[in-house]
Symmetry: C2
Subunit: 250 residues, 2 copies
DNA sequence: CAGTGGTCTAGACCACTCT
DNA sequence: GAGTGGTCTAGACCACTGC
């Protein structure tokens, strides 16, 4: 079998990568390039094995890691698919609010504002932009179980989300992340959140239907796409009188 | 090879478990029973394979899953070890506060109180105890970078933590979870946290050196040991003026 | 029935650690 | 050098899906 590592030697240890990790990169490259789009089936394990000139077990191990990172989804008997934000499983992946009692209900989103502005210093730093570069700013109100619970402000690099408008968002069926991957080919893979407790200011209190001075969560999120590139900065304010932020530590 | 599934038939599908999952259970049983204690090396893959009458690859897959669940730690060339809370990697696994600027510093813990009481209704529900059963209650103050940042109250089933005393805690070197696993054989595996924003009351404000009415995080944690059995309920109050709660969403 | 992913085996060789 | 985990292969058979 033609091994990509035929030239391996201890002196090159820094550049050594196991075969299955190289395969992993090749698959990710296919995802990034759009060769396989969200929802598509990728080629079968045996086909990928012959294409890359490795055994099925090696492809399998690569796919295993990509599946556990939620980039791919395996379906026994059918094939392996590119993960999507439209799967029910993914609905509450990036909104970790759960009701204090009762069952989670589908959030209802209202778009309040959508315009192009210059990035705030915080957004610029989070997105790796130069201070003052253009971003598209969205403000939304999210209601859970009929109660306005989250007010957030999203900053997106204008260079990536060219042509984004309130109309296009409102006409789209499905979640915002679903919209991004379907219309802009940008899939959100991972997010880092920073949570603090703050007091509601007058404006936010009004939107959330609470008194100013009530304690709320301030959640700053940076969301990453393939290759750990940041593509969204979101600051959300969460009421926690009827919901809590859920987290599991492993 | 003598397969445990020799009797498998479609009618028994509900009871079917792949071999490697059965091996996984056998290994977890060894961990629960104390056959291998935290920090110990478990037998090598080939030894386990012959002991259980399966191939090395099957044992390997079982260990892979246990390692990714942080129950075991693999060390190439040395062996596979039972995970411990004393590893540097585990230090901030259950305390997700990070400084707004600067580097994380080792927390300094002060034990304020340690006594046996009857479980609060919340603690009883979280721990699966009957209302009013005995629990040991600890109150602690945690300082990060010299600043009192967390005040928490821990409830532990008295039946499991017999003989726990303030003296024993204070005389122990290392973290509380380290103490639990070393002295009581109870290892914390996983935790569920629920986060809300609240206002600091007079008592907590005093301990944390802030004004009453300042917004803080209220973090309720239920911690589980092997077999998803809850063994700790902890309510913590976090100042977030110099730190934030960090979380990564996958 | 063909094609897919899921499990399991047996054996080879590599990389790392300790003696 | 012996022993450990890490990678890779080749092939067998099972479970599930859809035609």
């Amino acid at each position: 079998m033609a091994s990509v590592n035929a030239s391996y030697s201890p002196a090159l240890a820094a550049t050594y990568l196991p075969l299955y990790r190289q395969i992993k990169r090749l698959i990710v490259a296919g995802l990034e390039s759009g060769e396989w789009r969200p929802g598509d089936a990728i080629p079968s394990e045996v086909e990928l094995a012959t294409r890359f000139g490795v055994s099925q077990g090696t492809v399998r191990k690569a796919i295993d890691e990509l599946a556990s990172a939620n980039l791919l989804v395996r379906r026994q008997g059918k094939g392996t698919y590119v993960a999507t934000h439209s799967e029910p499983h993914a609905q509450f992946r990036f909104l970790r609010l759960r009701p204090l009692d009762g069952n989670s209900q589908q959030p209802e989103t209202t778009l309040i504002e959508c315009r192009k502005i210059r990035a705030s210093s915080e957004a610029a730093r989070a997105l790796g932009l130069k201070s003052g570069e253009g971003v598209i700013m969205l403000r939304r109100l999210l209601a859970l179980g009929g109660v306005s619970t989250v007010m957030d402000e999203i900053s997106l690099p204008a260079s990536i989300f060219k042509g984004l408008s309130a109309n296009r968002i409102n006409n789209y069926q499905g979640s915002l992340y679903n919209f991004f991957e379907a219309e802009f080919g940008t899939r959100m893979i991972r997010a880092d959140e920073r949570i603090r407790a703050v007091l509601a200011g007058a404006t936010i209190a009004k939107w959330l239907g609470i008194d100013a001075g009530v304690p709320i969560l301030c959640v700053d999120r940076v969301t990453f796409t393939y290759g750990d590139r940041p593509v969204e900065f979101c600051r959300g304010f969460y009421r926690t009188d009827q919901h809590y932020y859920a987290n599991t530590l492993f």
